[in-house]
Amino acid sequence: MNKNNLKLSLLSSAILLTLAGCGSDTTKKVVVDDRAPTAPSLSFSGAKQWIPTTGIINARDADGDALTFTIAENGEQVSSENGVYKLSHGILELTGSNFKYISLTGEDARIDYTVSAGGKSASASLSFSGITGDPLVNQQWHLRNSGQKSYALSDEMKAGMIDLYMNLFGDTEEEATASLEARFASEEAKLIAGEDMNVVGAYAQGITGAGVIAVVVDSGLEIRHEDLEANVIPNRSLNLNEGASDKTDPTSSSITGDHGTSVAGLIAAKGWNGLGGQGVAPDTSLIGMNYLGSDKVPQTDFLIHGFPGSGISKSDNVGVFNRSYGMGWPTHFSYSELGEAIQSYPNLMLRDGKGAVTMKSSGNSFGDDGNEGSLCEDNGANDLGLTCYNASFEPSQVHPYYLSVAAVNTDGKHTSYSAAGANVFVSAPSGEYGRYAPAMVTTDQMTCLSGYAGFTGGTIAAWGAAYGEAFAKSQFPFNFPGHEDNASCNYTSTFNGTSSAAPNASGVVALILSANPDLTWRDVRHVLASTSTMNDPENETVTFAIGESDFVAHQGWIENAAGFNFNNLYGFGRVDAGAAVAMAKSYTKDLGEQVITEWIGSGSVITGDDTMTSAIPDNSAEGLVYKIEVTEALDLEAMQFKFDISNVDMMYGLPDGTQTTAGMDLAIEVTSPSGTKSVILSSKQAITYPAYSLDDGDQPGYILRNGVLLSNAFYGESSKGEWTIRLMDTSATSFATSDGGRGDWGFVGYTNNDSASILEGIAIRAHGHASQEVGE
């Protein structure tokens, strides 16, 4: 029926009939006057912040004219992109008369709309009130970055600093103010809306983490915390302390802050309960285990990996273990086969064989870790922007069962501390220290009598003692007792580190598995690798000279032959919950069976082989090149490299009190058969002591001994073909340390190695699945 016919058929009382003349004329003229559409005003209450409210705007046009909508806010018309209107308080999506509204701010909102039909229009509104949310959620920039300050960069802080500068350093008020305002302006420019994990994108798809269990292996977990209790599975947590009276309560007795309680809140603080903030996966269930510390029960290492006896059954939907811990000594730790067997148990045995994923903090030693003293200030690593400790120094970080997570800031860029390495898988927000730049707003031990926030918080106590309580309060207003938004000190605004990045990524894993419980642990890796955001896209390379040649020690972003972007600082990039959930929901990739090759290579790392004696020339970019042929065609999921590399001087210091540079000078670059390069050891890193085996102790004379490094840079490429491994000694420089070698692990200086380092053994091992390429 066409439009005119429709009009003629709609004879009703509403249609005006105009009769021409007064009966003397028998001709009747019928004039059909188009009528305005009707537009109802609609009200909604009880919606959840960041969760879509859907409905139909039941606007009508009696004449059947097509309806068009325009949206206005504060009297100004708002334009749309494909039906999506971005408003100051939320997002409205219109498809015909169907609408979906997501409140971003949680505030009451009124959306004015005008519906037009046939040249006439009517106006009404959609009103949303009583939106359920969490009072601190708008300060959780990692969930949704609106450019908020998250209690950093406060006016109180600035005033406190101005006062300090005047009183302590003798600045005039003008000088102090100018100095602080310049610093604040610089830092505020790094608060960039949109640089977040896009959790709203996941919630918009109806996914909030329900049905998944996350295990927090940490210092503790306050199971009765007001914002965690609803998600903690009763009687399933473990107190691993020897002699603990309540074995199911891992609540920490510390009064200066419980790391695990803050970690747990980032994963799964309860959402929409009007308390605190929320976790990335606010409906995910929690189990806590107080692993860190001393005096633990026997078999703790098995219990924290979900072995029988941990209370975790193979059929439990345990999707993710979070491990925000690690080791930091200036040495490379030898690989442990037993360690791999234990650490892979969740992946290979739990969740009915589909496996749980472990998210592991990459470490906070980009600049230093303390033990090595001023090494990385003195050898140029800090100035160049190279990581001081490689994230792959720990043996648990160099197999594909633990996913190493790096940390990023409010501008999407690298934090000041996040350790880098080719083993990093993804990155996630964590921020800085909560003063000049935001940290995480998350759960803290309850009451002001314990926790990071409160009278006994370590930082507050220290700053208070140094400069007075008033100054401490000005610098940490949210954590200092008495802040209106944190009356009971149950939350902190200063939690950070890769300790924060890992649980944020763990939350995304929980969302992925909530969206699609059929995914395996390898599928989750694939989803993360495929959907993470290429943050800090302009990240620059770091190059320095070795002799007459240049060496690219940090590659920035690379694109491998399978189309994956990778960066040693960020792995595949910052996790994107919305994109990951979308991919999980429509997941079709079949990774097939996991295939792991034997170790392929020669020398001392291969049983039965003779030890090699290949010298790595000092200060040579050409280095020692070794090639290994792989005949198996796998689509790669990870690549491991094993080395025995010795140096006669790699002992515990030279007679003059210095140490050899042989360890820190070692760099290793790998080129895949597809031509992709990955720097797995950049040199200038804190390898100042001989290799160390957790199974066999000191390994004097070795830089790497049964030392394994992992690269994720080749993900998706084929394993088949020639792998080229270039080992370099990058410097001939000796130097004194600026700290004079303070501490148990420092040296007064470093002396260039007289003798070349020796490659004694080398091997590679591919992890992946049978190649799915046609013809392979």
Partner: protein
């Protein structure tokens, strides 16, 4: 968690273990008036008795409730480290060991964690060594054994390796090397 490394004024000591010295561009963090003199002692290679541990044969690990207060060197939870009345000869559950990396003293659980070679069963190893099976984890090659009778843990570990049936045998030490980060 990464602690903000600040250097702050104190009379003689740094205020907190979480507060460390670092040159920093923030002037308020540069208020170092005094630092304790730091001795320069270096980590050196130490001969270990097994793995990275050295047995503390002159120390004993007993319940703090039965320890003579004057004998207590340190306490760990409900346990106390005291001077042994005689050198420890048999290394077993409760024997104290010192980590050559961390210098921490910890107790042994009496267990040995083992990664078996493919095709080897826990019972086979048990019958060859006299070790008792604590846990054999189905679907893996991991078995936890404990010493029985008068067996010495270090000797038992060596015996395990000599059987040719195991890839790795590791005496369990009740020490956690990992720290929050």
């Amino acid at each position: 968690m990464k602690f903000n490394k600040i250097a702050i004024a104190t009379t003689s000591l740094l205020l907190s273990t979480s507060v460390m010295v670092q040159a920093n561009s923030e002037r308020e963090l540069l208020k170092i008036t005094q630092q304790p003199a730091q001795k320069i002692t270096k980590h050196v290679a130490q001969k270990s008795d097994f793995g990275s541990y050295k047995v503390e044969r002159n120390l004993a690990y007993i319940s703090a409730s039965v320890a003579n207060a004057d004998d207590i060197i340190s306490t760990k939870g409900s346990m106390a480290i005291v001077q042994a009345s005689a050198p420890i000869e048999r290394v077993a559950k409760g024997t104290l060991v010192r980590n050559t990396l961390t210098n921490e003293v910890s107790a042994l659980s009496g267990n040995i964690s083992v990664l078996l070679k493919a095709g080897v069963s826990a019972d086979e190893v048990s019958s060859k060594t006299g070790l008792s099976v604590v846990s054999a984890y189905a679907g893996t090659q991991i078995v936890v054994f404990k010493v029985t009778g008068t067996q010495d843990l270090i000797e038992a570990s060596k015996q395990l390796k000599s059987t040719g049936l195991v890839k790795v045998a590791k005496i369990e030490v009740l020490e956690i090397l990992n720290k929050a980060q």
